[in-house]
C-alpha cells in the first residue's frame, strides 16, 4: 500500500486542497466581476443610460449566485485551521490569527452587509446608495483577499514574528507582517489573475448572445468592456506581477525555483524549458527544448546569473511533488501567454470594428472562459506545492502541522462528505447560472419598468 494512504497529513492536505480549490472557483470571479458592476453602476449614474443598469441587474444575479457559493464554501476553510491543522494553529496561530480575524472583522462584515442590497435592493437603496453598495462589496472582497494573501505570504516567507518561550510563533510587528513584500507581489499577481477570470467570463456571455443574435446592445457592451479589461489584466498578470513573483521565489525559495523549472544541475545561462518532462528518478528533464539563458535573466536579471539546481540541496528539502509543480507552473505560463495573444487580437478587431462579424473569434471568446479558472488553479498549485515540505517556510514542516487527535477515517469521511456536497452544489450552481444566462438581461422591457419584472 502506498505510504501516503496511511499518512494523516496526506488526507488533511487533500481535504484542505480540495475544499480550497473548489472554494476559490467562486471568489476569483466575484473579485473581478465586482469592478464591472462598480464601473457600470457609475456609468449609469453619470450618463443615465439604462443599458448600464440592465447590465448591472443581469450580472448582479450571476454575481449573487457566485457570492453565495463562495460564502458557504469559504466558512469551512477557516474552521479547518482548527479541525485538521491544530498543531499548525498551536504553532503559528499567534501570528496568522491576526489576519484571519481582521479578514472577518474588516472585510466580511463590509461585503456581507452590502451584498444583499446590491443584488436585490436597487429599489430600496436608490441609484446612489446602490452604487455605494457595489463599491462596498468590491472593496470588501479585495480587502479579504489582501488579508488572506498576507496570511499565505507569511507561510511562504515569514516576517514580523518572534519565537516564544514555548517554541511557538508570536507576532512581533504587525506592520512588518502586514507589509510583507511577498504579500504585496502575491496580492497584485493574484488580483490581476482574478480580474482575468472576470474579464473572460463577461465577453464569453457577450459572444454567446452575439452568436445567437440576441440582446445586441448588451452583448456589445460585454464584449467591449470584457475584452479590453482582459487584455490589460492579462498583461499585468505576466508583467510586472508574475515576473516579480518569480524573482521573489528565486530570492527566497531557490530550491522551489529549481523544481518549478526541473533544473537538477545548477549553473549560469540557465534556460527555460518550453517543452520537457522531469524524470525525478534519473534526475533530468526529458525531451527538453530550452531557451538558453532565459531563466538566469528572468530570475536574477542577467544571462550570466547562476541558477541553483536541485542537486545542490538535500533531497528532504525538495518540494515533495516536483512533477505536479513543474507541469502546473509551465501550463500556467502557457495559458497566460495565450490569454495575452487572444485578447490583443480581439481588442485589435474591436478597434477595427470587426469583432461582431468575426464568427470564429466569437466562438473562441465564448469557449475561452474556463481557461482562466484553470490558470488560476495552476498558479495556486504552483505556490502551495512549491512551498513544500514546509508549512511555514524554513520553520515548520507540513508533516508536523496536522491534528494528531483526528483519525484518518474521520478526515476521509469528511473529505467524502465535501466531495458529495460540493458535487451537488456545483450542479445546482451551473443549473441556476445557465438559467440566468439563457434568460438574459431584461433589455426588451421599456425603460423604467425593468425593475418590476426583476424576479
Amino acid at each position: 500500500m502506498n505510504s501516503n494512504l496511511v499518512d494523516p497529513a496526506f488526507w488533511s492536505r487533500l481535504q484542505f486542497g480540495f475544499t480550497l480549490t473548489y472554494h476559490y472557483l467562486f471568489p476569483q470571479l466575484t473579485m473581478g466581476l465586482a469592478w464591472f458592476l462598480v464601473y457600470w453602476k457609475w456609468r449609469a449614474l453619470r450618463t443615465g443610460d439604462e443599458k448600464y443598469n440592465q447590465a448591472v441587474r443581469f450580472w448582479a444575479k450571476i454575481f449573487g449566485l457566485n457570492f453565495a457559493v463562495g460564502v458557504v464554501t469559504g466558512i469551512p476553510m477557516e474552521f479547518q485551521f482548527g479541525t485538521n491543522w491544530a498543531d499548525f494553529t498551536r504553532y503559528a496561530g499567534g501570528v496568522i490569527g491576526q489576519t484571519l480575524a481582521m479578514e472577518g472583522m474588516f472585510a466580511f462584515f463590509l461585503e456581507s452587509a452590502f451584498v444583499g442590497a446590491l443584488i436585490w435592493g436597487e429599489k430600496r437603496l436608490g441609484p446612489r446608495y446602490h452604487f455605494l453598495a457595489a463599491l462596498g462589496v468590491a472593496l470588501g472582497s479585495w480587502l479579504s483577499a489582501y488579508f488572506i494573501l498576507v496570511t499565505n505570504a507569511f507561510m511562504q516567507h515569514p516576517v514580523g514574528f518572534q519565537i516564544e518561550a514555548n517554541g511557538s510563533l508570536g507576532i512581533a510587528s504587525l506592520r512588518t507582517y502586514l507589509l510583507n513584500p511577498w504579500g504585496w507581489v502575491q496580492f497584485f499577481h493574484n488580483q490581476m489573475a482574478a480580474l482575468v477570470t472576470g474579464s473572460f467570463v463577461v465577453p464569453a456571455v457577450g459572444a454567446f448572445y452575439t452568436l445567437r443574435g440576441r440582446h445586441p446592445i448588451q452583448a456589445r457592451l460585454y464584449l467591449r468592456a470584457g475584452t479590453l479589461t482582459a487584455l490589460v489584466a492579462s498583461v499585468l498578470v505576466a508583467f510586472p506581477s508574475g515576473d516579480q513573483q518569480a524573482k521573489m521565489v528565486g530570492r527566497h525559495q531557490p530550491v522551489t525555483l529549481a523544481a518549478m523549472e526541473g533544473k537538477f544541475v545548477g549553473g549560469p545561462m540557465a534556460g527555460v524549458a518550453v517543452i520537457g518532462q522531469p524524470n525525478i528518478a534519473e534526475r533530468r528533464l526529458e525531451n527538453s527544448i530550452e531557451v538558453p539563458g532565459a531563466l538566469s535573466f528572468l530570475a536574477y536579471g542577467t544571462f550570466q546569473s547562476y541558477v541553483h539546481g536541485l542537486e545542490e540541496y538535500p533531497e528532504d528539502t525538495w518540494p515533495d511533488n516536483i512533477e505536479l509543480l513543474y507541469y502546473s507552473f509551465h501550463l500556467m505560463i502557457t495559458l497566460g501567454s495565450i490569454f495575452i495573444l487572444l485578447m490583443a487580437y480581439a481588442s485589435f478587431q474591436i478597434w477595427r470594428g470587426r469583432l461582431a462579424s468575426s464568427t470564429w473569434l466569437l466562438w473562441v471568446l465564448m469557449l475561452a472562459f474556463p481557461f482562466p479558472y484553470i490558470a488560476n488553479t495552476l498558479g495556486w498549485l504552483t505556490a502551495e506545492l512549491g512551498r513544500q515540505p514546509w508549512l511555514v517556510y524554513g520553520l515548520f514542516h507540513t508533516r508536523d502541522g496536522y491534528s494528531k487527535v483526528v483519525s484518518n477515517g474521520d478526515t476521509i469521511f469528511t473529505l467524502i462528505g465535501f466531495v458529495g456536497l460540493y458535487f451537488v452544489l456545483g450542479l445546482l450552481f451551473l443549473f441556476l447560472v445557465g438559467r440566468e444566462i439563457a434568460h438574459g438581461p431584461d433589455d426588451e422591457v421599456v425603460a423604467g419598468r425593468g425593475q418590476e419584472s426583476f424576479v
Binding site: 474588516f106 462584515f109 463590509l110 430600496r124 424576479v455
Partner: protein, 349 residues
C-alpha cells in the same frame, strides 16, 4: 487584558447566537407560521438581506479566537471534529436554501428548499445547543490539552463523555425551544398578516415552555458542575448578566402581554445575551473544562497568544467593530418596517 479578551470573544459568540438564533427560530417555525408559498417567501424576506452579516459573527469569532487564544482553537476544533463539520454542512445547506429558494417561481422548487431550510435550522439549533452543553459539562481533555470525542458513550456526564449525554441533550432541547421562541418574536415584529398572527401565537406558547425548561437546565447545570454557582456569586459579570436577563424578561413579558412587538423582541435578545453572559462569566477563566481531571482544564491564561497579539488586536478590533455596526445600521434602516406578502415577496426581499 486576558479577561477583557475572554469577554470580547464570548461577546462575539453571544451576539452570533442572538442574531443567527432568530434565523434558526424562523427556520424551525417556517412550516408552522407560513402555509402558502407567498407566506413562506415572506418569512425568508423577513430574515432579510443580512443573514450572511449575521453569520459573519461566527466567522469573526473563529478568526478572533485564533488570534487571541490559538491553542484553544486548536484543541477544541480538532476535538469536536465531526460535530463541527456537521455544523458547517448545515450552515452551508441553510445558506443555500435562503439564496436559491427564491430563484425559481415554482412550487416544487420552493417546497424543496423550504424543507432544506427547516431541516438545517433544526439541526443547527440542536448542534449549537449541544455545543453549549459541552462547554459547561466539559470534554475528556488529557494532560496534553487534547481530546477526541465520540457522538455518545454511556450518556453519563463524567469521565469519557460523548458529545451527547442526558445533560447536553437537554440543553439542546432547551436551545430549540428558546431559539424558536426568539424567532417567533422576531417574525411577530417583522411580518404582517396571517404569518404575524401565527407567530404571535407561537411566541406565547414557546416562551411559556421556556420557563420550566430553564428551571430544569439550571438545576441540571448545578448537578453537572457544582463548582459553577459558587464561582458565579463572586463574579460581577454574572450579576450584571443576571440583571440584564431579569430586566429583559420583564420587557419580554410586558411586550408579549401588551402586543408591543419591538419591546418583546428587545427583551428576547436581552434575555439570550444576559443568560449567555452569566454562563460565560461563571465559566471564566476555564475555557475548556476536563471531565477526566480538573487540572487538565484549559484556562484562558494557558491558551492565550503573546501580550503583543492582544495589544495589537485591542487597537484594530474596536475600529472594525464600529465600522461593522455602521454598515449594519445603514442597511437595517433601509429595510426597516414590516415585510408584507404583496410588496416584498415578488423577489427575494
Amino acid at each position: 487584558m486576558i479577561a477583557t479578551w475572554y469577554g470580547i470573544v464570548s461577546f462575539m459568540l453571544i451576539v452570533y447566537v442572538a442574531l443567527d438564533g432568530r434565523n434558526f427560530g424562523a427556520g424551525m417555525l417556517h412550516w408552522l407560521v407560513a402555509r402558502t408559498p407567498e407566506e413562506r417567501r415572506q418569512v425568508v424576506a423577513a430574515i432579510g438581506p443580512l443573514w450572511s452579516w449575521h453569520e459573519v459573527w461566527l466567522v469573526g469569532f473563529g478568526g478572533t479566537l485564533v488570534a487571541v487564544f490559538p491553542r484553544l482553537m486548536a484543541s477544541a476544533f480538532a476535538g469536536y471534529y465531526l460535530a463541527l463539520f456537521l455544523i458547517l454542512w448545515c450552515l452551508l445547506l441553510r445558506g443555500i436554501s435562503l439564496e436559491v429558494g427564491g430563484h425559481i417561481n415554482d412550487r416544487l422548487w420552493q417546497g424543496f428548499w423550504d424543507f432544506v431550510f427547516v431541516f438545517s435550522s433544526f439541526l443547527l439549533a440542536i448542534l449549537f445547543g449541544a455545543a453549549a452543553g459541552n462547554l459547561v459539562r466539559g470534554v475528556p481533555l488529557d494532560a496534553q490539552g487534547n481530546f477526541s470525542m465520540a457522538f455518545f458513550t454511556n450518556f453519563s456526564v463524567s469521565g469519557h463523555v460523548g458529545l451527547l449525554d442526558w445533560y447536553t441533550v437537554s440543553v439542546a432541547l432547551f436551545a430549540v425551544v428558546i431559539l424558536a421562541a426568539h424567532g417567533a418574536s422576531y417574525l411577530t415584529l417583522k411580518t404582517e398578516g396571517p404569518v404575524h398572527e401565527r407567530s404571535a401565537m407561537w411566541a406565547k406558547y414557546l416562551w411559556v415552555a421556556v420557563v420550566p425548561l430553564f428551571l430544569a437546565i439550571s438545576v441540571e447545570s448545578w448537578v453537572v458542575r457544582p463548582d459553577l454557582p459558587g464561582r458565579a456569586i463572586h463574579d460581577p459579570v454574572c450579576w450584571l448578566g443576571l440583571l440584564v436577563a431579569i430586566v429583559s424578561a420583564i420587557l419580554l413579558i410586558s411586550g408579549l402581554l401588551t402586543h408591543r412587538e419591538a419591546r418583546a423582541f428587545l427583551g428576547s435578545n436581552g434575555l439570550l445575551v444576559g443568560l449567555l453572559a452569566t454562563g460565560a462569566g461563571a465559566l471564566f477563566p476555564v475555557m475548556l473544562y476536563s471531565t477526566l481531571a480538573p487540572e487538565n482544564s484549559l484556562t484562558a491564561y494557558a491558551v492565550v497568544a503573546n501580550p503583543r497579539a492582544l495589544y495589537l488586536a485591542s487597537i484594530w478590533w474596536p475600529v472594525a467593530f464600529v465600522l461593522a455596526t455602521t454598515y449594519f445600521v445603514f442597511i437595517s434602516l433601509r429595510y426597516a418596517g414590516k415585510v408584507s406578502v404583496k410588496r416584498d415577496t415578488q423577489a427575494f426581499y
